[in-house]
Symmetry: C2
Subunit: 337 residues, 2 copies
DNA sequence: ACCGAAAATGTAAACGTTTACATGCCGACA
DNA sequence: TGTCGGCATGTAAACGTTTACATTTTCGGT
């Protein structure tokens, strides 16, 4: 049924070794022989069996990606960045979206064993740190947007804290003193860092500080909407809101609109991530730009470096800068649209 | 270096067969033995080697996806739909974004051989039909948004023609008689079908018909922007525009805004796909809703059906209905926002 | 204690490659 | 003519599993 190297060898009247050599075009094979093998292979529709090949070479030409989720523009952008870089090296992408809960993450890790040459792991949950120990030791892994790891893995993150600082300071700079924050998911590293930045500015500028000004959120649009409703019930009402990501900001925006509030006149709004959508909402959303696809590309580059490395490498942590992008939703005389 | 089944067997004082049986929890293994094996495996950090396993079982628990591209919300939504369905069956996703040009597509196909149990192929180019012949015969394949295939592959598409009919009729129903169309990419099946729908209504309703009213496009936002500029130079100017996808509609929208035109008062606009973004632009975009993630889910379901089938199955073509979603950009009293 | 069946476990072949090593061949050089 | 070196090719082991089949163990019934 399936055409193997043996079929080709027999039909071409050579040994399997010769066929193999033709297909890896290494070693010397006489042009005459080579041509005959190629002709037979074409005729039979033979192509080498990837799995068998990787078993013996122990290289799969595949990169694994472990994601907590596939929702939203953030993840699809990351995937795109990774794919671009992988493609350049002729690598495939094996994607697994595992809920970050311990057991399932470990299961996903296990099922990737022997299928990939390296792993890009995105598990932003703080308590998922433990499972990370279960990574095969010495296996090339890059952590993406994860809490800094104690184990010797490379990791790439973004300047969450600094970005949150910039956003909160900007809002404060517009004269707001009562700034609410819609927090990210509980136990999420990015969320914690962004909150930390917000709080730092609240102290630094002596802004109104009250527990009710920090609203629970979950990074989802619906979560943002719900938080906005709770926020509107506060007295006095905050004059500005910093949502821990753009998805929630968009949700909040629609809640404000439904409540008849004008943004930014009645309430100013800022987000985080600068997803493509941010430019298109009305009013356009002020946000903290995160070079999402660069994140993916760097991660991949980092992984390849490690794959190629012959000496054991120092593990390193890279932090990508974020930049404030001022648009209309915060009330400043920002950029266009 | 790498822990194999043999290491576990030796350490546990059993044969490799027993270890294998424990890990596939099949066959009878005495509780006592099972426990010892599991303990040793845990201690040694052993997990089965996926590649070796698939080599012998010839099942990879992996689905391959061949995409023309990874840009845009359309593709990420499809991936999400496929992943969800695959995840439910415990399958992985091997993604390869190959330019649909013949050789690269075949290369991608080849490199997937033996790595996947089935394939979801999205190659909307009409002339890519030929390469599709190079698919291993009898291999489970589902074609997504492809021209109907002569070869016996399952295929799933969307009602492009009907959707375009609905959109164009709706615009005509608003009183527009001079409706322009920004076409999709040359040689693309979806694009051709949507154009066919547009033309049918132009004839049916006796609308203005002129070659200049059909503007070249490429499904990209920039392409839509450029086409819109060319469109604005026409005399008399069309009063309505149907863009073959939402990306181009968004590009056109920004071109119109830059030109100082109001949408829909000065010019009405409709798109296709109903990507999430469509609701958020200002004014919200009237579009033809395509159940994108359903597309992915159905494709996966179809593939699994074929994987499980013991008898050879009839190949079938499924066409998903599209629905017109009226929002503000077309000037009708549509839904909210 | 013994027999036989059933249950548990072991042995080894297979999956489709790659690759170290062995073999054979040819021509050049002494 | 014999020998050596280099090149082309063949042989067979290995990669880490699963699994058919063979073998051993267990155990109930006598």
């Amino acid at each position: 049924m399936m055409i193997t190297i043996k079929d080709v060898a027999r039909q071409a009247g050579v040994s399997v070794a010769t066929v193999s050599r033709v297909f890896n075009d290494i070693d010397n094979v006489r042009p005459h022989t080579r041509e005959r093998v190629q002709a037979v292979a074409l005729e039979l529709g033979y192509s080498p069996h990837g799995t068998a090949r990787s078993l013996i070479t122990s290289r799969t030409h595949t990169l694994g990606m472990l994601l907590p989720d596939l929702y939203g523009e953030f993840f699809s952008e990351v995937i795109r960045g990774v794919d671009q870089a992988a493609q350049r090296e002729g690598f495939h992408l094996l994607i697994s979206s595992a809920r970050a809960e311990g057991p399932s993450l470990e299961a996903a890790l296990r099922s990737m064993r022997g299928r990939v040459d390296g792993l890009i792991v995105m598990s932003p949950d703080l308590d998922a740190l433990a499972s990370r120990r279960s990574l095969p030791h010495g296996f090339p892994v890059v952590l993406l947007n994860c809490p800094p790891s104690d184990a010797g893995h490379d990791s790439i993150g973004i300047a969450n804290y600094e970005g949150a600082l910039a956003m909160t300071r900007h809002l404060a700079g517009q004269g707001h003193t009562r700034i609410a924050m819609i927090k990210g998911a509980e136990g999420n590293f990015d969320a914690a860092e962004r909150l930390r930045g917000y709080r730092a500015v609240v102290r630094e500028r002596n802004l109104d500080a009250h527990p009710t000004l920090e609203l629970a959120g979950d990074f989802s649009e619906d979560g943002g909407h719900a938080a906005a409703l709770r926020l509107l019930a506060l007295h006095p009402r905050p004059t500005a809101v910093f949502a821990a990501n753009d998805g929630m900001a968009v949700g909040a925006l629609s809640a404000f609109r439904e409540a008849g509030l004008r943004v930014p006149q009645d309430i100013a709004l800022g987000g985080f991530d600068d997803i493509p959508l941010a430019r298109y909402v009305e009013p356009a959303l002020t946000s903290v730009h995160v070079p999402i696809n660069v994140l993916g590309e760097h991660a991949t580059g980092c992984l390849f470096a490690r794959l190629r490395a012959v000496e054991p490498m120092e593990s390193r942590r890279e932090v990508l800068a974020t930049t404030l992008v001022v648009r209309r939703s915060c009330g400043a005389q920002g950029g266009p649209g």
